[in-house]
């Protein structure tokens, strides 16, 4: 019995339960199912269609993605002859894992996080910056011109979004005077959320977030009419799902992050309610889902930019905006004396 108890203790310890269950893999999986369904349903609504319908009609086709996943699971995985096999198989796995990983550093209440750090604000972003490397590897190992161009475009995109993203978060760090996400949420308990405190940084981060997760209008790396499906052209079966899942996982992680930094995290819940991580966790997820919903809604409004236009937007507009947001933060600190 002792062994079982010990096993349970290990399984129920925050270091396991957080990355695997809440808010980790399982919850992210559910969130992805929901957001993919929501994206398709919302786009369908705009475009005067039905969208997913027949998989559990009573739920409006909600488990459509599960059905798609099952289909992909039984699809043969084709590995092209000329590809670099190890890199071809491993890079989607790393890509997905690294896209998921930052979730460990995102606290869902004062005391609920897998990994406490007073640098968690930086840690989340730093972990996400590793993913483009695997994207490049993925495109290179496929030995296909479209994959190669797609992954190069992804690399270029990174140059457009990464610096504005970091600088806009720097602005928030200056305004809150901390790099710890728990404290960041604590600073917003007054009711003045980050989005109201520094709207410039919020806009910059939101646009950079769209670029990171390849949402429209920044879908340049996967541009279907140009590059088939960009870096993933040669992929099939379950590893293709990992590639696609990576961008949704990234979207989910970044939306939670956005909810914590700009939308007050688990505020306005106060002390006795935040003891149990479930209620504040749900609050953060609801805010995160709103952000995700807004991100996926862009698909029905915008066409796709050209890569050079995205780069221009990144350097000419976003970068300037992010620097201005730092100045705004400095001004706020100087005036309000935070």
């Amino acid at each position: 019995m002792n062994v079982v108890e010990q096993l349970l203790q290990i399984l129920l310890s925050p270091t396991i339960i957080i990355p695997l269950i809440f808010p980790g893999l399982l919850t992210t999986f559910l969130v992805i199912i929901f957001i993919a369904w929501f994206e398709r349903k919302l786009t369908a609504k705009v475009q005067l269609r039905y969208g997913p319908l027949y998989v559990l009609k009573s739920l409006g086709g909600l488990p459509q993605l599960v059905a798609d996943l099952l289909k992909f699971l039984f699809t043969e995985i084709i590995i092209p002859k000329g590809s670099d096999k190890k890199a071809f198989i491993l890079s989607p796995i790393f890509l997905f894992t690294l896209s998921m990983l930052p979730v460990v550093a995102i606290p869902l209440s004062n005391s609920y996080a897998a990994f406490f750090s007073d640098l968690s604000l930086l840690l989340v972003l730093a972990l996400l910056t590793i993913t483009p490397i695997f994207m490049l590897l993925l495109g290179w190992s496929s030995n296909n011109k479209f994959s190669f161009i797609g992954s190069l475009r992804d690399g270029y995109l990174m140059m457009a979004y990464e610096i504005p993203m970091f600088v806009s978060i720097l602005a928030m760090a200056v305004a809150y005077d901390t790099l710890d996400l728990v404290q960041v949420v604590g600073r917003q308990s007054s009711g003045l959320w980050g989005i109201a405190l520094n709207p410039l940084a919020a806009i910059t981060f939101f646009v950079a977030m769209l670029m990171t997760t390849a949402r429209f209008p920044f879908d340049v790396a996967e541009a279907e009419s140009e590059l088939v499906i960009g870096p993933y052209t040669e992929y099939s079966g379950i590893i293709f799902v990992l590639c696609l899942g990576a961008s949704y996982a990234k979207l989910s992680v970044l939306s939670l992050f956005f909810a914590e930094v700009f939308l007050g995290g688990w505020n306005p819940l106060i002390w006795p309610l935040t003891l149990n991580p479930i209620l504040p966790g749900v609050a953060v997820f609801v805010k995160g889902l709103l952000v995700m919903g807004l991100c996926v809604f862009m698909r029905s409004i915008y066409p796709r930019f050209r890569i050079d236009q995205v780069l221009k937007l990144g350097w000419h507009t976003l970068f300037v905006l992010s620097v201005a947001s730092v100045a705004l933060s400095l001004g706020i600190v100087w005036v309000l004396g935070f």
Binding site: Q47, P217, E224, S225, V228, Y302, R304, F305
Partner: protein, 386 residues
């Protein structure tokens, strides 16, 4: 030792953005150095097959060259055939012909706009445009009985008369389309991303457009007011009041705007036709006498093909016709040796003439401009390949 500096990109025929052809692009980084559309993947030898068929059997055949634009292809062929036979359609039939041709022009332009939207990533435009084709396809179905391949225009007239409730429904569809054009304007035509993608992309200037022989809306977007409906009017176009939509920019966005302008013109033309369509017969008197039961025909107001049509024998000679199809000037050439089959049949389709614009408009552009320009030319591979 010299290293390879350029990348040869083979786009298609198995590619979501290529259509039924292979695009060979020589890339230097993101810039297109050389561009070669490789066509012929959907060549069906329409001209040769036509030599083995009787004249009436060719009507459905020429429609197959361009399924989004069947009425105009049908009209072009029948005009050439009528010149060979030396007959004219009665006025009411001519009105009905142009009614169908303009309905067809609207839904063909919507088809092109939808594909264009999808090519630069606006799936909303694709769905909206394809959804809004539906009222016009429905109208055409009321009129002709078929959704796309109408085979409505026959030598000497048309197959069916205007249905009872057609006028009101048509006017409803037209005002619906006018409302929807405003929606398109907001979501796609003047969307900032669309403007960024299409303004100044794939420019064909006035002189080049004339030199390389681009036709249709693509030519008019380069500032040349050339429209067969004005230059060499056929059927009832002289009686209709319409403008030739011209823009001077010559870029992909101008081509899009010209198409939208033409949809507006077609809407006004259909209104005029519905307003002043005269009463009368829908088939030339020469054939009317041969219709099996004349009274039954007048009651049902549709034409059952007289047996004579299967053995239609034009006298020896040749005839040409020019019509303005949705994608540009369509040319039919028909040679008869006095038998029941044409001796030679030749179609010069607008898409084939516009093909050269690819090569011209894409040099020096970026890779991502290929679909943007492709869509703006409204190129339809089966029409070019025939």
């Amino acid at each position: 030792m010299s290293e390879e500096q350029t990348l040869e990109l083979l786009i298609g025929p198995q590619h979501p953005g290529s259509g039924h052809m292979r695009l060979v692009a020589e890339m230097d980084g993101d810039v297109i150095l050389n561009f070669e559309p490789n066509i012929g993947y959907v060549h069906r030898a329409v001209e040769k097959i036509a030599e083995t068929k009787t004249y009436v059997q060719i009507i459905p055949l020429v429609e197959r060259t361009s399924l989004p634009d069947t009425a105009n292809h049908n009209l072009g062929y029948v005009l050439a055939l009528e010149r060979l036979l030396g007959i004219d359609a009665p006025l009411r039939a001519q009105y009905l012909r142009i009614l169908l041709a303009e309905i067809n022009r609207i839904h063909s332009h919507l088809y092109g706009m939808g594909i264009h939207g999808n090519m630069i990533g606006s799936t909303t435009m694709l769905m909206w445009a394809f959804g809004d084709r539906e009222p016009f396809i429905e109208l055409a179905q009321r009129l002709t009985g078929a959704r796309l391949s109408y085979s409505y225009i026959i030598p000497g007239g048309v197959r069916r008369d205007l249905p009872q409730d057609f006028r009101n429904d048509a006017l409803k569809a037209l005002s619906y389309m006018e409302r929807r054009l405003k929606d398109y304007d907001r979501i796609f035509v003047h969307n900032p991303v669309t403007l960024a993608r299409l303004k100044g992309v794939g420019v064909i200037n006035r002189i080049d457009a004339a030199r390389i022989g681009v036709v249709g809306p693509n030519l008019r977007a380069s500032g040349i007011a050339y429209d067969v409906r004005k230059i060499e009017p056929y059927c009832i176009y002289p009686d209709l009041d319409f403008e030739v939509v011209v823009r001077d920019e010559g870029d992909a966005h101008a081509r899009l705007l010209v198409r939208i302008g033409e949809i507006e013109q077609s809407i006004s033309m259909i209104r005029q036709i519905l307003g002043k369509i005269p009463d009368g017969s829908i088939l030339a008197d020469r054939y009317l006498d041969l219709v099996p039961s004349r009274t039954r025909f007048e009651k049902r107001s549709s034409v059952k093909f007289p047996a004579l049509f299967s053995g239609l024998k034009p006298s020896k000679g040749e005839a040409v016709s020019r019509v303005e199809a949705s994608r540009g000037e369509l040319f039919h050439y028909l040679v008869s040796d006095g038998s029941t089959h044409p001796y030679r049949f030749r179609i010069v389709t607008p898409s084939f003439k516009n093909l050269i614009a690819f090569k011209h408009a894409l040099l020096g552009q970026k890779l991502a401009d290929i679909p943007a320009v492709y869509g703006s030319l409204d190129y339809f591979p089966p029409e070019a390949d025939r």
